[in-house]
């Protein structure tokens, strides 16, 4: 039987999207937070919060749309704790981020145990939006242009963030909060408010990514299911050094390498699985390190802002 049929190639391409979208949303969210000066190590926890709440609401309301909204809200809820402890109280961002991740892992596992551990409900397939014309392109069309609305939203966010950072007062304020918060303060803007807004926005995006994983990519919630996607999102954001387009490239490359790894295994290419599975990580790091070597991270990244303190 021929392996590389249209059906198989479509499944591989669709796999790129399914794996790449949560990373794209996580990377964009982390980038937003970092630009404002908050190193958000807790996005794995925010993603899990979004995955659980999104799945729960989609299952209970039988509406995937409400589920995705709830996912964003779930991420924001965990992010609100980050705002309280790191932005408002100025505590160590790395310590709080790790604590939030561990806390969210425990809380969502416990909630799952109480709610779903005997039933393991699975959701039906999420309805897709078919883009006329493009969806008819062989192989690429069904995989890329007949997708869940969240996929188009995630892709649309990339130019939106480029515009936000380059063309708007808010975008400049966000970057000032990360580079020179004292200057932003002197200009009459509230550093804490800008940082809080950015972290909450990060939580919403990351939570949406988590909800995409549980509602669309898996159709089920299981404990720890984000499986390090939040941490990969942090790596993407750090290596992309402030450029949303590079986050998109990194997420797509990672997803493509995952699908390529599956294709190599299914084709029976006889090389160690560990080597095949190292591909996505190695490729993303290599490309982004080369591409992002001249960019720099915000000067005040990771530092709490206290007015009047130098």
């Amino acid at each position: 039987m021929t392996l590389f049929t249209d059906t198989f190639l479509i499944a591989l391409l669709a796999g790129v999207v399914a794996a790449g979208v949560p990373l794209l949303l996580a990377g964009l969210g982390e980038q937003l937070s970092e630009k404002a000066g908050v190193l958000n190590v807790g996005i794995e926890g925010m993603m899990l919060g979004g995955a659980y709440l999104g799945f729960y609401v989609a299952w209970a309301s039988e509406s995937t749309g409400l589920g995705f909204l709830a996912g964003a809200l779930g991420g924001m809820t965990v992010a609100a704790l980050m705002v309280l402890f790191c932005v408002r109280l100025g505590l160590n961002q790395i310590v709080i981020g790790i604590a939030l991740t561990l806390g969210a892992e425990g809380a969502t596992a416990l909630l799952h145990h109480v709610q779903f551990s005997r039933l393991y409900p699975r959701l039906p397939e999420v309805a897709t939006w078919r883009i006329p014309g493009l969806a008819e392109i062989p192989i690429v069309g069904p995989a890329l242009f007949d997708r869940e609305p969240v996929v188009y939203l995630a892709l649309g966010l990339v130019p939106a963030f480029v515009w936000l950072y380059r063309r708007t007062h808010l975008g400049l304020a966000i970057q000032a909060a990360g580079d020179k918060p004292a200057a932003l303060d002197s200009a009459g803007e509230s550093v804490l408010a800008i940082r809080a807004l950015s972290v909450l926005g990060c939580g919403a995006l990351v939570g949406l990514g988590g909800a995409f994983m549980s509602i669309a990519a898996a159709g089920v919630f299981v404990p720890f299911m984000t499986h390090g996607n939040g941490f990969i999102g942090i790596v993407l954001a750090m290596l992309a050094r402030g450029r949303p387009l590079w986050v998109l490239l990194g997420a797509a490359l990672f997803g493509a390498c995952l699908s390529a790894a599956t294709a190599l295994q299914v084709a029976g290419v006889d090389i160690p699985t560990d080597v095949v599975q190292m591909l996505p990580f190695a490729a993303v790091m290599a490309v982004l390190l080369i591409a992002g070597r001249n960019a720099k991270l915000p000067a005040a990244l990771g530092a709490a802002y206290v007015r009047g303190e130098r």
Partner: protein, 344 residues
């Protein structure tokens, strides 16, 4: 200075009190509890549930307490191990391959015996034993069943990693398929390194295998197996018909929507019961433990999806394995699996 009997008695009482206060280990043969640690909750119809249920059953049969620490994740469990060791259980069962470095370490530190998986070479008298339980005989039967039930002649194997237990079952499944239908095509894919909870990855990879023509999926994973199940429920086979799923370790029948073909069932109670007996006999750590068809610790699940005539044929093969007419040799390394599925 002359020692009086009263002084000696006083010293003896003091030493006894000191020993009690320091909580020195109970004498060999005395065991009041065992403890088990699992990475996920004991309600997964799989690895974690079988481990906890088996430990509870074995402890109950021995009249001792089973202490359960579940849902611990795949990170560092040393603090939990130390906490459990404080209660001085007769045995700590570290029920995850990811725990097989930390458990012997804490066992040596606290003097508590530990049972681990996927590390047979770690065997140490009165300290460490391995129970790399391999359901390879059951997996061979699952391969026979898959070959008989496949319409396309293509079957898929999806795993959440390549630990020895998974490898031996993947290899045996492939052998069972090939022994029954030599021209069958076997597609094999691993979700990721230790992707036990990656349900989204499980669905993605399973969909790829179905797209590659598989209409029977042999899935090995913990939480990720629910993603595999979701994929077979939502993705039709190349001929438009149903894709069927063969699970491992546990019985997902209560949550099945008509896609579960079978499962290679494990029963770990006899394994843990043997460990408790060995701890009591002071012979723990002298040998490792396993499971097999002949004593019922491995079995193949019968579901309504299996026609009676096919089941009868599969059970005939089972009888041949139990009688020794067919020998299924476990292959614990990934290279053997790759060679078997690629036919090299």
């Amino acid at each position: 200075m002359t020692k009086t009997p009263l002084t000696r008695l006083g010293r003896l009482v003091s030493v006894a009190a000191l020993c009690a206060g320091l909580g020195l280990p109970a004498l060999a043969g005395e065991i009041s509890s065992i403890a088990i640690l699992t990475p996920e909750a004991g309600t997964d119809y799989g690895w974690n549930q079988q481990g906890i249920d088996g430990a509870k059953a074995a402890a109950a049969a021995a009249g001792i307490e089973a202490i359960v620490a579940e849902n611990l994740g795949y990170g560092d469990v040393r603090p939990t191990l130390r906490e459990l060791a404080e209660d001085k259980p007769g045995l700590i069962i570290a029920h995850a391959s990811g725990y097989n470095t930390a458990a012997p370490e804490i066992g040596a530190e606290t003097g508590v015996k530990v049972a681990i998986v996927d590390s047979p070479d770690a065997l140490k008298a009165n300290a460490v034993a391995d129970y790399t339980a391999s359901g390879h005989e059951g997996a061979y039967l699952a391969g026979v069943l898959a070959a008989k039930m496949s319409r396309s002649g293509t079957v898929g194997i999806v795993t959440s990693g390549e630990p020895p237990s998974w490898n031996s079952q993947s290899a045996a499944f492939a052998e069972g398929v090939k022994a029954t239908k030599p021209d069958a095509v076997i597609r094999y894919a691993v979700i990721g390194p230790a992707a036990y909870s990656d349900a989204a990855g499980g669905k993605r990879v399973t969909e790829s295998l179905i797209a590659a023509g598989a209409d029977i999926i042999f899935g090995q994973g913990n939480g990720s197996s629910f993603g595999m199940l979701q994929a077979v429920e939502t993705t039709p086979a190349a001929d438009g018909g149903k894709v069927l799923f063969i699970d491992v370790i546990g019985d997902k029948s209560p949550i099945d929507k008509g896609f579960l073909l079978s499962s290679v069932l494990w029963n770990l109670e006899p394994v843990y019961a043997a460990m408790i007996a060995d701890v009591k006999n002071d012979s723990f750590g002298s040998h490792n433990y396993g499971i097999a068809l002949k004593d019922g610790s491995v079995a193949l699940l019968k579901t309504p999806q299996i026609p009676e005539d096919v089941w009868t044929q599969v059970m005939a093969v089972k009888d041949e394995i139990v009688s020794g007419k067919i020998t299924v040799t476990p292959h614990f390394d990934a290279e053997s699996v790759h060679a078997l599925v690629t036919g090299n």
